[in-house]
Amino acid sequence: MKTILRLSILVLLIVLIGIGIVAFFENPTIQNWLGLEASAGRGGRVAEAGSGLFEGQGAETSRRGGGWGRGFGTGRGEGAGVGRGIGQGEGGGAGWGARRGEHLDEFPSSAGWLGLLGVLLRLVILMALVVALVKIGRWIGRKFKSNGGMPAQDASPS
């Protein structure tokens, strides 16, 4: 019973966070503010790299703003894609965007293994940094604590 109650609370919390995220990012003001959706009024918008994963979506016409825009993208290398988009609208304007393209026609691909290695490397480097910072923090904490909150050189020998 206790577990069910806890689980319900967790699920409710996660659902609420999820709804909050959707509501937040669906807000046109927020989208424009973050520059995520389109350069409204100027016709430019972020375009995706056309890769195996997002085929057919490399070129899009902007739906927002006063003008219209077209984006195009090309997948390069094994799964890595660089996308660029240009937009034209009433009064001109250009938008551009770049994102990683994922080529998923063949898997597990060598790019997949390399990607996994990259993820692991990033994790290890960041973890090492955090561990080092925690150890330094603890060392500083011990140094201050043992002297009544003062650094060793400032502590009076009472």
Partner: protein
């Protein structure tokens, strides 16, 4: 409990690594694995319920403490993870279409999916870094020592679980330091 925690965390870690690289698994496995990961994360949170409640209750009593930092990072990690899940579901190509639900393929959710995944990785690294002592201690107990002593060492050590790698005081209903 420590062994169960360790095994679940190990499973979560491997699943996260595979889920983070869709080029390795392909989209259907990526999506279903991520969904399973979400459910497993619920179990992980349930098993650390006491810690969450105890630190949450006393959060503002003494701000500069490692438990508070862990709590804050974990909260950010949860938000980033939920963002990955929600945006992933919204651009789903396998799970939702299977149930006849049309998904949203606007760039915003794809950008968000990518951004929040990168953020999740960052928070995961911080989360692991902050719990590094426990990870090293548990790895020594359940992997390194049994490897050295042979498999019989594992059952021997499981009996004396409380002696090594103790749980954080917050999980044993103890007072916070």
């Amino acid at each position: 409990m420590t062994l169960k925690n360790f095994l679940l965390d190990l499973l979560l870690f491997v699943a996260v690594l595979i889920a983070f690289e869709p080029r390795l698994s392909g989209i259907p496995i990526h999506e279903w694995l991520s969904l399973a990961l979400g459910i497993t994360l619920l179990v992980h949170l349930l098993w650390h319920w006491d810690w969450i409640i105890n630190v949450g209750k006393r959060y503002f009593k003494r701000l500069f403490h490692l438990s508070r930092l862990k709590f804050f990072v974990d909260l950010l990690f949860l938000i980033a993870f939920v963002t990955v899940m929600v945006s992933g579901l919204l651009i789903s190509r396998s799970i939702l279409p299977l149930f006849g639900i049309q998904t949203d393929h606007r760039s915003i959710w794809r950008v968000l999916h990518s951004l929040s995944a990168d953020l999740s990785l960052l928070f995961l690294a911080i989360h692991l870094g902050l719990n590094w002592d426990w990870i090293v201690c548990t790895l020594k107990r359940y992997v390194w020592t049994p490897l050295r002593q042979g498999l019989s060492g594992l059952s021997l050590r499981m009996k004396n679980e409380a002696e090594v790698c103790p749980q954080p005081v917050e999980e044993t209903h103890g007072r916070l330091p």
